[in-house]
Symmetry: D4
Subunit: 211 residues, 8 copies
């Protein structure tokens, strides 16, 4: 693609026939396909026709990926709790599909900050950091205070009561007193992985092409 | 008072005459008076009649206090930024007036967490901790993860844009993933100081009477 | 645990295998396990492997508890309506698991305040009071006016229409004109039971260890 | 008027000339005039032309009233705090102007409920009760639980932080678990006094005419 | 009951056994029982034990009612659309159960106002009017402008999009520029029927006893 | 202009020099100028340089208008209350400036609907109707039920309490059960006048040019 | 009908019997029937009795339409994404049923604006344009900047996270800086098609009758 | 500084003495100082002591800057309207102070998109783009669709009515359907300039040090 990013399928609520059509078109054009928010049913549907299709029930990513793709640079994907991992994985796998090396640092929320500190060097050496957190979303601020590269904050809908399906975490992140925090939509792991790839490519001096 | 807490005056918007009347009644009953949210004008008004009146323009507390009051136990009052100090001082001075020893640990927000860590022992030894923060209010969660006594979280109206005059910080604190966080209203330093005193008295085994 | 509080499992939405793994680890470490928001299905799953597991469908608490644990001090758990009892029980059983004596005073909302007054002495003698209420949540304010120890207010999602799933009750409690009200998240019985235990331990002079 | 209620002037933001014109027209039609939300300036303006005009700076009511008007029945107007009195007075004086006997019972909020109980008989004997409260607005629910006649709940904008200029009190009152609560807009003392008069007239068997 | 109103069961979400117990107790005490928000399943459950039980699937009211109860006075229950009828019927049948004569005037919303005008005389002769409307809820204002007795406004959750499950209609009604509008919670037909009965009794001079 | 609409100045908050510059440029280009939300000060500023400038303190419109401009078709501008007239006048004068004949029908809100009915024929004969209303904004729905041409609904910030500066009226209008209602932003008389002109031109068969 | 628009059935949640009754009545009166938000089940129900009934599962429109109806003028219906097509089709088919020629221009959102520009001439030649968009709803503003006829903006509930079921798109559209934008409720394709028809008739000089 | 970013002063609401102290400390440490949200009064205050201080009343930036600082790379700062320029300038000048070359492209909102297209090449050649917009904030989405580098979206509080002081623009940007959009707080030009500098440094291969 002109932007250096292949077209991606947002599978949620797509009708079977519609999904198959797009999948086939992209497969023909690019030789590989990447879909987000896919259901088990959609996996089975697509697999029948494209047996090399892979599906990860955690991130809900459905893909056919070319072998031996090169990855460049490095980003870190951090999550606050185990319940945030599906969104973190959507981010990590999106970035990897677009050619980025990814370090995963999960379950390092503010109630277990010692775990965060034990991985700090790895985090600080990444070209950018994705911080995924629900409930009150304080991880993004803490991260922003500890690293000097851009932090992409992803609020998640994890929580209950006054979390208002992620709105509270979003507000926390938007109001962060730390510098260098970029916020994306609630549960938007895909968007975070995309943005992190843009920044990582700039850092690696490879820009739009990713190679 | 039956509850071990003297009646307090909320000075904001009180008419001059009305304020003077209450002040006088309380002075006669208790020999001391404590008012919050007072203006410079109210200070001058009251001082004329009660020359021993003191006023702190930061916390906006107006008081006549008996000499040689004993203080017991210990609480810690922490603030994220310097702009949160007026609320922190309202909390600290309220607790002190009600007979509590107070440690002040200011400007220890998440963008300068090293300062927080350098004071950690003091904080952890308090009977309870008041965490005052505006903007995204992440301090309360960080504090909750580091201390095992109750943390009273006070959101402040410090911030702009999506801080919505403190509502964002309030939501952050209510949704905290850390355990042992008790939330009070936005800018309610008084309420935090009161609650901290209740807890400190229980810890000191002196309960309602404070002595 | 360092904090004097064992790790607890938040069972909601945990995958079967994941839940069994944590359960087993905690069982090995602590000899007892406590889980909140568990389903009947999760109970059956766990029970197969740990036959001494108990489950309470009201509070949705799943646990294996050591025999002959000592309890100290006393707290009171009050609920406004019968629909609030699941949250009240989550609070009460959490506190009991952590070693606190609990008095239950249910169905004492403002439309039946005579029932509240008939139990007032018991309530006033507790080290702290948990007030659980949905709809308009006025119970917390009433309670705050009647007792001089800390009141932990738990808004519940009980109600309909403008109750907005508990947000109205939360706002009522945060804005309370009574002193000494500490608010936690909507339906967060666990958090209230934890906080009450912290306070009760301080009052009992046993602090972090609970014994 | 056809409805048994004279036309009333809402003075807020009315231009001087405009106000004088309406005042004059109503004076000519009815021989008396009633205006709400009037400023001191508007009082002086009107008084110059209609020297018998009276103004109450608390309720901000501006009026010329006929002598010897009869009042019927009885309503009770209760307020939670002293800061709610301006709204309570708007309600009380509106009802009086429309021919209703009014009992005032002020400063009986939930943190001083003994005062409320000491006046309970008076309250229970009224044809209907107006409950005026800001902050968390719990007074309406408490009142609804104690009286069996209609309770008109008036939220006020008194409070700060999460009171959101009266929205919290409004939500409390709309969600009340007590029966027989009718809610009007924030600070709408006039509307409450009008509604109470309608009910009082029905109770007194005099209906629309008020005599 | 002391208030002249029998205790009523809010059936929604009540466990079978719990419902049967309350039903039985009330049947023994009062010889009749009234339940709202009941399901078809709850009807069958109760009917087995109390074969004289009646159930209306529209209003979802479940009851055993004494024969030959007298009704007094008159109220009017108006609805804007056909989708609002369940709430209107909850209001109407509640008022009837408590001894009030009810006129039903349905489907008279602002897009068919001629139907409203053709019934105006009936509406104006009622002791009070209940206006039930969803979507934008304009019926309450229109009604308030046409009748001089109290109008009880019931917003409903009928609508979609920006109706926000009834909040928009609630706001419309609370802000009404018409006089004499009393608002209750979204979908709260029961509360409206209760309040209307209180007013109707006052008008009929029979007050609390309803006879 | 290509669109048939001259460029307009939104004067609010414009610096003096900046305003004069734009004014001068437009005057040179078009021979006439139209500004909205202008202050008295801005009028005096502009008048000094362009003595033929006119200013209407009600609508706050500042203009130099060519003589003998032709107007076509007809629209009706209706307002609910007198406080809504500034917004109604912004709409009416905008439409007139753009060449539309305007009928003004003010103070016809739902509490005085007889006045509305007495002007109905005029309203129904317009090519489109602008309905301007604050508080609960019910006028738009009533109008939509009575006319079969498009109704442009303009919520205003008139009101207090739960009117939330016009948001309540906006929601009322967006949720209207009547057909053919087009909503614009709160207080956006200009936008309504523009849209009405577009429709009026289409109806008059003159389209973009307005002549 | 008097308004030139036949009565339409809003099928959502209508009981079977009720739906059949209205369908039959309208069929008898008009010889054709149009229903929106119909389910597959309702289609089968109606088809049994009226075998000529057609159903479109995308728009969920259920209808019996007279043959050889004439269409006049032209409007354009544009959608941002494929997920917005159901709402766009509700708009398009409503307008067609009421006698309007419709151009469909789908999938022209701001991330693929070249597609929009390639159809611009068609769009600019329509009497009015309907812009259907979810997520951030920017299409309406872009469209408003490009065409000089009225743009009817329809926010959709497509999106997730902070889209708040369409409220974000609604706010975007209401705040549009472009001129000539008329907003309707979220997902209200029907309302947009109705309004567009009103405008198209005026432009075609055929007004209420549509012929 | 460790992060490669000097400490910055947020001047808003700082007391005179407090501001002077920080200014002096930073001046001594860094030889230059940068303050945002400064008032004219603060400028005069500081200038007296540090005569080389510069102040820009548009961006409200107050600074002493070293001569001959090198700038690297390139970013583009775009604004939708002229009213958004203060925020855009805060962003641009912040980035410049931190050593970034900045292209300014102002007044290119969606109602004048041709101006945007005429500058497209410049925009697309920047390492990252800052899009500043109030009202409905559509510029960010349009920009995201046109450039393949990261877009930092800054909502502004410009607008009225339903713009809710910038919340609408914030929501628009967070929900953008375009890829590669990073959102910061309302009016947070400083934060955008900081983040853009981080990205620009990575692209220029100079990272934290900026040289
Ligand atoms: N999980 C996701 N969240 C947000 N946007 C996505 C996601 N996955 C894909 N997208 C975007 O949606 C576009 C495809 O949308 P669609 O045409 O509806 O399949 C992709 O090109 C991406 O820009
Ligand atoms: N019902 C509950 N509500 C809120 N927090 C809980 C609840 N139950 C457990 N927790 C907290 O969640 C932590 C476990 O979360 P997780 O690792 O996701 O199982 C516990 O250590 C508690 O701090
Ligand atoms: N009162 C108003 N409300 C909304 N938009 C307006 C108003 N007056 C003028 N406008 C629009 O604002 C544009 C001028 O904006 P500006 O360039 O900031 O002066 C005009 O061309 C109109 O599109
Ligand atoms: N999809 C729709 N969205 C909004 N209003 C609709 C829709 N379909 C029909 N209507 C309106 O609803 C009316 C019928 O409502 P009802 O009497 O409840 O069937 C029609 O006359 C239309 O005015
Ligand atoms: Mg940082
Ligand atoms: Mg802790
Ligand atoms: Mg108390
Ligand atoms: Mg009662
Ligand atoms: Mg009336
Ligand atoms: Mg119409
Ligand atoms: Mg246009
Ligand atoms: Mg892009």
């Amino acid at each position: 693609a002109r932007t250096g990013f292949a077209e991606v399928i947002y599978c949620s609520n797509k009708a079977d026939e519609h999904l198959l059509n797009i999948f086939e078109r992209l497969y023909r054009e690019d030789g590989e396909v990447f879909g987000t928010r896919a259901s088990q049913h959609q996996y089975e549907l697509v697999k029948e026709k494209f047996p090399e299709t892979e599906y990860d029930p955690i991130s809900r990513i459905l893909k056919v990926e070319k072998k031996d793709k090169k990855r460049i640079g490095k980003i870190a994907v951090c999550s606050a709790g185990t319940a945030d991992i599906p969104v973190a994985e959507e981010a990590a796998q999106t970035a990897e599909y677009f050619g980025t090396n990814v370090e995963r640092i999960y379950d390092v929320g503010v109630s277990g900050m010692h775990r965060l500190f034990s991985r700090l060097e790895t985090i600080q050496s990444a070209n950018c950091v994705i911080a995924v957190a629900g409930m009150e979303g304080a991880l993004a601020s803490v991260m922003g205070g500890l690293v000097s590269r851009p932090v992409i904050a992803v609020p998640t809908s994890v929580g209950y009561g006054a979390s208002m399906h992620g709105l509270s975490a979003l507000l926390t992140m938007i109001n962060s007193c730390a510098n260098g925090i970029a916020v994306v939509n609630i549960d938007n792991g895909y968007g975070a992985g995309y943005l992190a790839t843009q920044i990582n490519r700039l850092a690696a001096g490879t820009d739009e092409k990713g190679n």
